[in-house]
């Protein structure tokens, strides 16, 4: 069995389990998993960037762009259903990255990280100043239905959960396929040695640009899903702490598997809600310690536990 088929099968089983488990989950858990999947989408984009040798501290930009596009689109274009809103979110974020990528794709390492951070802070500043979009308060998302189900109802919550799960499945399978293609295989090659990639006849800048757009589209979908699950949008989504959290998830998860960012995001949300409940004043301390532990003991991320075990088994 090829690794692509194995991954698809694994993700398919996960999707099935999620579907079967849904009726058993309490309301808070349903919400937690939905949000985690939405954030996992952003981290999945970061996985692609990290495989290309880049770390972006500004994915909040595309996350917010996707959320605002979904929110504004629902009002301006009178999109009542969640599905076109999510599509709009992904496309808008991709379009933003296509533009910014003209500049971003020229930079590497800390310059790339800082430039992406700078762009996200500009968007944050703009959103805070735009009263038509609710300034710091943001605004409520006016989605009415998801797959035809009324969104505020219990069934609607399952609908958003299912939509998130399907998006995640599609994105993870798609990215896995991409990473195994000749084009996708250039990502680690660029990370290792850009000069040689150019000497093999390919354009490093175009490849980086393309990967930026893919990562942004995923972040945009994640933003739109978050907007739908929460029912509200505010500029905080573009703030640097939000971007930092995505990097946190990506590092926690590791880049070994396309499933890892979702597992990492769920774990992070669980950790955060427990830490918040049991240590409301020092929960950041708990999170920081968790991060430290991962970096010290599992430098390749949580997913490397599975890998090590598999290696030991063969």
């Amino acid at each position: 069995m090829t690794s692509f088929r194995r991954t698809t099968l694994g993700l398919g089983v996960a999707l099935l389990v999620m579907g079967l488990a849904a009726p058993l989950l309490p309301k808070w858990a349903l919400f937690l998993v939905t949000i985690a999947i939405a954030k996992g989408m952003v981290a999945l984009g970061l996985l692609l960037l990290m495989r290309t040798g880049l770390v972006s501290f500004g994915q909040g930009l595309y996350f917010a762009a996707g959320a605002y596009a979904a929110g504004v689109g629902s009002q301006a274009l009178d999109l009542g259903d969640a599905v076109p809103m999510v599509l709009l979110g992904g496309l808008t974020a991709a379009a933003v990255a296509a533009g910014l990528g003209l500049l971003l794709a020229r930079y590497r390492a800390i310059f790339f990280a800082m430039l992406s951070l700078a762009f996200s802070m500009i968007l944050y500043g703009l959103l805070v100043k735009t009263s038509a979009l609710g300034s710091t308060d943001g605004f409520n998302v006016a989605a009415r239905t998801v797959f035809g189900l009324p969104i505020g109802s219990t069934l609607g919550r399952y609908g958003v959960y299912a939509l998130a799960a399907l998006c995640a499945f599609g994105a993870a399978v798609g990215l896995d396929r991409y990473l195994g293609s000749y084009l996708g295989r250039l990502a680690p090659a660029v990370r290792d040695n850009e000069l040689r990639v150019e000497y093999m006849g390919a354009s490093v800048r175009n490849l980086v640009h393309l990967n930026l757009v893919i990562a942004a589209a995923m972040a945009g979908v994640g933003g739109a899903l978050t907007a739908l699950a929460v029912g509200h949008i505010d500029p905080e989504m573009a703030y640097w702490t939000t971007s930092g959290e995505f990097v946190f998830v990506a590092i926690l998860s590791g880049t070994a598997s396309v499933a890892a960012p979702f597992a990492g995001a769920v774990l992070l949300e669980l950790l955060r809600s427990f830490a918040y409940e049991h240590a409301p004043n020092t929960w950041q301390l708990v999170m920081g310690s968790a991060m430290l532990a991962v970096i010290l003991f599992l430098p390749e991320g949580l997913w490397s536990i599975f890998r090590r075990r598999r290696r030991a088994a063969t």
């Binding site: 000749y182 295989r185 090659a189 290792d192 040689r196 990639v197 150019e198 000497y199 093999m200 006849g201």
Partner: protein, 258 residues
């Protein structure tokens, strides 16, 4: 015979250092040419200028009659000028097989952009394995490049350059880092693999026995200038070449990254 590669007045300065001074030479099709010169003579700089990594301060480079001065390396590669590197430029975290697949994958995605390819109608995966076989790299197939011995990395670097079917292959010190008794077999292997296709070869070399054995013609560089250019025996017996190039203690790798 017509020249496949031609440089006119090629000059490159780095601040106060002149690494190439007014280099004018031409290389005929279907020949094997040696490029000799002491450390810092400007050999690598010449390859960097020809392949577009460096922009010349002055002068032009023509390939098959076409002006390619200042073109980006990727475009020059697509035209059929390929090179290997003095310090192997491989993808360290990828296996030997994956290293070859990168270049072959690029060629297979852009068949129309490349003038020639060694892919034909075959799948890149099959060609990668075949190349590993041909270059005696099979036992290293699934090893990450970072752990391979220097000589093997050197060979892999050369094999990677052959994903594209070159019209001319430029080899920068193919035998440096390879043990003395393996140098000849390496050159037999590389030249055997590519000369069957009548590929023109220009190779930089410090070992005069290798140069004598494999070339018909030699270019000798000194201080960024061509000081001798002619058939191998004549150049190697040229007194200036003997004094300035051959007489030097055997040099090893320089510090330049490529």
């Amino acid at each position: 015979m017509s020249p496949i590669l031609e440089s006119r007045g090629l000059t490159k300065t780095f601040g106060a250092v002149t690494a190439a001074r007014d280099i004018s030479l031409s290389i005929e099709e279907d020949t094997v040419v040696g490029l000799i010169g002491g450390n810092g003579a400007g050999k690598t700089t010449f390859l960097n200028l020809v392949t577009g990594y460096l922009k010349p301060t002055a002068g032009t480079v023509r390939f098959q009659g076409r002006d390619i001065t200042g073109m980006a390396p990727r475009r020059i590669t697509r035209l059929g000028i390929c090179r290997s590197f003095q310090i192997p430029q491989v993808f360290d975290t990828l296996t030997a097989y994956e290293n070859l697949l990168v270049g072959l994958g690029i060629v297979s995605m852009g068949r129309k952009a490349f003038v020639g390819s060694n892919l034909g109608t075959a799948r890149p995966e099959a060609v990668a394995d075949e190349m590993l076989e041909r270059f005696h790299l099979r036992e290293y197939r699934d090893e990450p490049a970072s752990v391979l011995p220097e000589g093997v990395r050197k060979l892999l670097d050369i094999a990677m350059a052959l994903a594209v079917k070159p019209a001319i292959l430029l080899l920068d010190e193919p035998t440096s880092g390879v043990s003395a008794d393996e140098k000849f077999s390496l050159m037999d292997l590389v030249l055997g693999a590519i000369r069957a296709d009548k590929v023109t070869v220009l190779f930089v070399e410090h070992d005069m026995d290798i140069v004598r054995r494999y070339t018909q013609r030699i270019l000798a560089f000194y201080d960024g200038k061509v000081i001798a250019d002619g058939d191998s025996a004549t150049v190697l017996s040229n007194p200036e070449v003997r004094r300035l190039v051959v007489g030097e203690p055997a040099p090893e790798e320089g510090a330049a990254p490529c």
